[in-house]
């Protein structure tokens, strides 16, 4: 699009032949072709006639002159076509017209002055090409020609004058005028359309530029070599660079980028350097401004495809410092609130427990049943607070992750045993735990691994009807020799349960998700379990996938990177018994 506009504006700048109009040869490709062929045919015909005259030994000045007219027209067209030099074309046209007038004056229209002249005018009108003024100019020419003919008839300069032929010559002139006029009308119509289009595209361009410059988001355009070609005023404000200082410079060399931990991002890993196949979203990047300060941003790169080819990237840069702070404040609030909740939860727990124990006097069976209800509700609240704390700490990046040597098979058995004790005693579930016989101990965070297993096994047991099957499988995959795949522990938890409806499968890992088919019969459940699992896996660098068919069962596959589990020092406030145990162990060392 900008290319077209450039072309059009070039045309607008070009001085135009005869007349004050701004657009000259705005003919379409077909028209140009037709006119070119027609012009050259005319010239060939003119030449042939001149040559015939010479060849048939009737060497006359008329024949020679006719060749001269043809030659000037060739030069004329070539001059305009090749050099785009209007002055040369103008002079050549004037020369050809003068030559023509001389021929007519001498020959009185001449032997061949009849319909043959018709061929001269389309090229002329083509060269005039443009506005109605061209037609008036042509009419002026006609009147001049007629005047000359009349003169040559009234005062014969030549013995060749033939009045009859002059009549047909005049008729041909009128025919040419008519053709020219019609043609020019159509040209003018095209022209006004182009004007309208130009105006519209100009307006659109202005609108877009106003929109772009008033956007709150920085926009930087780079070409396919990574050079900055354009940026809006927000980008100037955000980056504190002026656009003229940036345009033409390499984005990645001029504007340093850092990851969320403050490590510089190398050119190879630069989101804009790698030609994005689709839209690329990079969150929590830090960009360095001209003055050396940095800010947190979200960078979205969209490839600029022109007729199927990658021509560059349009990137939007959004300063997310404020929303990041707000998000952090919100999460910190949740952490604090959860902590404050823990104290009353403890009080309820302990006091109810003492009541149950008869520490405050003996209870009736109805009373102890109700106290039990209070206790189990309290337990749910306690679980919910714990889960919220984990989520909040993951969001804050403060959940401590400390890989230690563990046997995942043993951990799975331990967790499964605890979970089996929580299901209703009369609900029979066939639970199988399979672990690789040669399963090595690997470095994984114990709490994270337990939490993941806990939620997956708990869900499997809970959402499988009585007499169903649940299996937990632990598989160790060593790193491939080419290091293409890293060392992994896969945990596969499958059940013959109710399954997750297809329509809801895309929401499984969202906060507070509970599928419709289980909400109907089970009201207990926070909907945080799988969200916790997913968040934890994102946090430690693992993956989770699942496959589910309603009323057939669900299989979750978790992949834990053995080497890659990220260590987080965790200055957070969340503690669980496992963390405490781990800390106790290390403190004694």
């Amino acid at each position: 699009m900008p290319k077209d506009i450039k072309k059009l504006s070039k045309r607008l700048q070009r001085k135009v032949f005869f007349g004050s109009h701004e657009i000259s040869t705005n003919t379409s490709r077909n028209e140009t072709f037709f006119l070119n062929v027609f012009s050259f045919l005319t010239i060939i015909v003119m030449f042939s006639f001149g040559y015939l005259d010479v060849a048939s030994n009737k060497f006359t000045i008329f024949g020679v002159l006719e060749m001269v007219v043809g030659l000037t027209l060739v030069l004329n067209i070539l001059g305009l076509r090749l050099t785009h030099n209007i002055t040369i074309a103008k002079r050549l046209l004037l020369a050809s017209v003068l030559t023509m007038l001389t021929v007519i004056l001498i020959t009185g229209g001449g032997e061949y002055g009849g319909i043959n002249w018709l061929f001269i005018f389309p090229p002329i009108s083509f060269l005039l090409a443009g506005k109605k003024e061209g037609v008036f100019w042509l009419f002026g020419l006609l009147i001049a020609v007629m005047g000359v003919i009349i003169l040559s008839v009234a005062f014969p300069f030549s013995s060749y004058s033939q009045a009859a032929l002059n009549g047909s010559f005049l008729a041909s002139l009128f025919a040419v005028s008519l053709c020219t006029f019609t043609y020019q009308l159509s040209v003018e119509k095209n022209e006004s359309e182009i004007y309208a289009n130009l105006e519209q595209s100009d307006r659109e361009r202005r609108e877009s530029s106003v929109i772009l410059n008033n956007l709150n988001i920085g926009v930087v355009v780079v070409d396919n070599r990574g050079n900055i070609t354009a940026l809006n005023s927000s980008a100037e404000n955000i980056l504190r660079w002026r656009s003229d200082e940036l345009i033409g410079k390499q984005f990645i060399r001029t504007i340093p980028l850092f990851n969320e931990f403050g490590d510089p991002i190398s050119a190879e890993n630069h989101p804009l350097y790698i030609k994005p196949k689709g839209i690329l979203v990079a969150n929590d990047l830090r960009i360095m401004r001209k003055d050396g300060t940095t800010f947190l941003c979200q960078l979205i790169g969209t490839p600029l495809m022109v007729s199927g080819k990658h021509r560059g990237t349009v990137s939007t840069i959004r300063d997310i410092t404020k929303e990041h702070d707000a998000e952090r404040a919100k999460t910190e609030f949740v952490t604090l609130a959860s902590h404050q909740l823990r104290t009353p939860i403890s009080a309820i727990k302990w006091l109810s427990e003492m009541l149950m124990n008869g520490d405050f006097g003996k209870l009736t069976s109805v009373q102890s049943k109700q106290i039990n209800n209070i206790l189990s509700s309290n337990e749910r609240m306690s679980t919910l607070v714990n889960e919220m704390l984990i989520v909040a700490n993951i969001d804050l990046g403060t959940l401590p992750i400390q890989p230690v040597l563990i046997d995942v098979g043993e951990v799975a058995e331990e967790v499964a045993e605890i979970e089996m004790n929580t299901i209703e005693p009369n609900k029979k579930i066939n639970l199988k735990i399979k672990a690789d016989k040669k399963l090595p101990k690997v470095y994984l965070d114990l709490t994270a691994t337990k939490t993941i297993l806990h939620h997956l096994i708990k869900n499997a047991l809970k959402y499988t009807p009585a007499n169903g099957h649940v299996s937990v499988e632990v598989i160790h995959t060593p790193a491939s020799k080419d290091k293409h795949t890293e060392e992994m522990i896969s945990i596969i938890v499958s059940d013959s349960g109710y399954g997750i409806p297809k329509s809801e499968q895309n929401k499984v890992f969202t906060k507070f998700f509970r599928s419709d088919n289980i909400k109907a019969f089970d009201t207990d459940g926070s909907g945080l379990g799988l969200y916790v699992v997913r968040s934890l896996l994102d946090y430690i660098g693992g993956r989770i996938t699942f496959d589910s068919t309603e009323n057939v069962g669900t299989t979750f596959v978790v992949k834990l990177p053995v080497a890659g589990m990220k260590t987080h020092s965790g200055h957070g406030v969340q503690t669980s018994s496992d963390i405490v145990n781990y800390l106790a162990e290390t403190a004694q060392r």
């Binding site: 727990k349 427990e353 306690s382 200055h571 957070g572 963390i579 405490v580 403190a587």
Partner: protein, 141 residues
Amino acid sequence: MVKALKPTIMVIEDETLLLQAISKKLTLAGFDVLSCSSGKQALDYLKNIERLPSIIWLDYYLKDMNGLDVLNDIKKQKEWSKIPVFVVSNSASPSKVHAMLALGVKKYILKAEFRLDQIIEVIEEFTSEEKTKPDRRKTND
């Protein structure tokens, strides 16, 4: 087998409701209980008391100071530093927990995850182990 002298346990907990519950439960379990609702009160007690407690039950989050400060003060005094401390709390970051364990806390117990009688079991287990060892408790004449 009943000892003439009940073991004394000092409970430092700023939540009155919890303090009452803990005291009641510990009394029922056969302990002499010294209830303190602030860190300062606990340190004052230790300074003026005739017979030092045999065990300290410490909450981390206290209104006037935190458990780590109390612990530091306790460990500064040679006599006090011998008293086994159990931290029962909800609100300590892992680094604080680690610091307290390094200072010689016998056990850190997460309040919300344990029942009272479980905690008392843990303490009783510890005291019965201690009984087999020579009595290190200080007795003032």
